[in-house]
Amino acid sequence: MHTSRIFTYISHGLLLILIGIALFQVALLFIMSGKSPAEIATNPMLPSLPIEWENYVTAWNMGIRGYLTNSIILSVSIVFGDILLSVIAAYVFARYQFPGKRLLFGLVLALMMVPGILTLVPRYLLIRDLRLLDTLWAVILPSVLGSNAFQIIVLRTFFQSLPEELFEAARIDGAGHRVLLFNITLPLSTAIISSMAILRFNGAWNDLIWPLLVLNRDELRPISVGLVMLSSGAGAPEIGVQMAGSVIASIPMIVIFIVGMRSFIDGLSVGAIKL
């Protein structure tokens, strides 16, 4: 069906304005991160020279360096553990029949109806009783174990669509689960697994309330908690320094975006369809 030219022009106009407003907020982080207090007072929102690189040095030395390290350790462990367990569980649920399968998969499905707010308080007490408070395990364990129902469901649907002949042939050649999983299933699923890993990384990197609850020692805090705490209260540094910290906090996703922009967006779209 033909789209009229006027409609197309209006569409471009609306899209550019609305998406532009959203992008301007991201740009503001970069613009303000390079401004001295004097510049902030006179012209805070438009680009200006010279760039105050000192803000980055100050932010880095105010604890951002440690926060960034903690965030990388946490996020990488969570992505690795979560994806590994999800892939294994989805593989078993997708390709095998065994007694109790319906019950066990029902346990996974029912988790979609258990909201985080219901389990927050007892989970905190559980971590306390396991003596894990103020250790990175307090964040890693509950993020890897039991919080991957969505990933299992999506991956299971995908694994079910793989042709059984491949698996049958490999089994005849005497392949075990390790070969079936790592040499057959995984190579055919790199697109969906990498987009899922990116989403999980983004989620772990953004996690704020749970690490705030279980990590009291400043040297253990991830950058989400560190930055928000740093910008709160009376001792908060200049806004330019806060924004420099914000830009540093964005680096991992910027790298992922540059390295895999196309597959990232296509992967997100695939995930969207699977939903």
Binding site: S11, V108, M113, R123, Y124, A249, A272, L275
Partner: protein, 314 residues
């Protein structure tokens, strides 16, 4: 897959001659598949330990006066205490307004997705998609820092208003009249990348024959949108409405980090009351009761939503 046929037969309840034979063959099937149970065990045990056990504990705790170590049964006291607290009426009003607002703001990603979908040039469609996703590079907590500044006395919103000739001296988050509205406004124009992509995927999947037939029948642009395209993304809309319900009822991050629920109770939400009860007052039973109430609210809203959608489909 012949070695799994026994298990299959048991699952289907067919080909089972006698009860004792069935039990021994069931045990044999379980033993034969032991490696599968082993592979599933970290996932299942993790779910029981970190999800189901805490969920049951929350129900148990909600009926107790509980400081995290000792508990005393108090019946429904925690529920009554929460539901009858007159100050917390405001938190229900707030969560209701936030829910309405968040549902209405789904219109923005819907609009963006539709405009992109209708562009005739494939390269343009691709690049708009890239631009929509681009803000993902900045993590969500960064926008807490940014918007706290934007809403401050000499922050971005007032600077823009003053440039437009309005002498605004409003401390947006510190004023009971503007605090909740400001929290809603945060993130304007509310173009959530993942939501746009979900809608876009729905629009792209519409069969072109359907649109051609509408064109032959002389449908106008509005008819085409409301009669054909919008109903075709109803499935996506339903999922997003449920996700918005679940997300909004639970969310207290903005209230916690932007305003601490204030000024007064102006931006208080039930989730934040729960957070305060257990982080500041050690009132674990009371906090658990709030968690259970929010769980029930989510459950009921989800069921109503599914019922409504089903009846409109018929």
């Amino acid at each position: 897959m012949s070695n799994f046929s026994v298990a299959q037969a048991d699952l289907d309840g067919k080909d089972v001659p006698a009860r004792s034979a069935s039990r021994s063959s069931l045990l044999r099937a379980i033993w034969k598949n032991r490696i599968l149970y082993l592979l599933l065990s970290p996932t299942i045990i993790g779910m029981i330990v970190f999800q189901y056990y805490p969920a049951l504990t929350a129900f148990w705790g909600s009926f107790h006066s509980w400081d995290g170590r000792r508990a005393r049964f108090v019946g429904l006291f925690n529920y009554e205490f929460f539901l009858e607290d007159p100050r917390l009426l405001q938190s229900w009003v707030n969560i209701f307004l936030l829910l309405i607002f968040n549902l209405a703001s789904l219109a923005m990603p819907l609009l963006i997705a539709y405009l992109i979908y209708r562009l005739p040039n494939a390269a343009h469609r691709y690049w708009y998609r890239v631009l929509v996703v681009l803000p993902i590079i900045a993590p969500g907590f960064v926008f807490i820092v940014l918007w706290r500044w934007l809403f401050s006395l000499d922050g971005g919103i007032n600077i823009i208003l003053r440039a437009l000739g309005v002498d605004s001296q409003v401390v947006w988050l510190g004023n009971a009249d503007t605090a909740l509205g400001s929290i809603m406004f945060m993130g304007f124009p509310w173009i959530e990348a993942f939501t746009v992509l979900i809608f876009l995927a729905g629009f792209i999947a519409i069969p072109s024959e359907m649109l051609d037939a509408a064109a032959v029948d002389g449908a106008t642009g509005w008819q085409r949108f409301f009669r054909i395209e919008l109903p075709q993304v109803q499935g996506q809309l339903k999922v997003l409405v449920i996700l918005t319900f679940i997300g909004t009822v639970q969310d207290f991050g903005r209230a916690l980090f932007m305003t601490r629920g204030g000024p007064g109770y102006a931006t208080m939400v039930p989730g934040l009351r729960m957070y305060n009860a257990f982080t500041q007052e050690n009132a674990y039973g009371y906090a658990s009761a709030i968690g259970v109430i929010l769980f029930i609210v989510i459950l009921v809203l989800t069921l109503i939503n599914q019922r409504l959608i089903r009846s409109t489909e018929q």
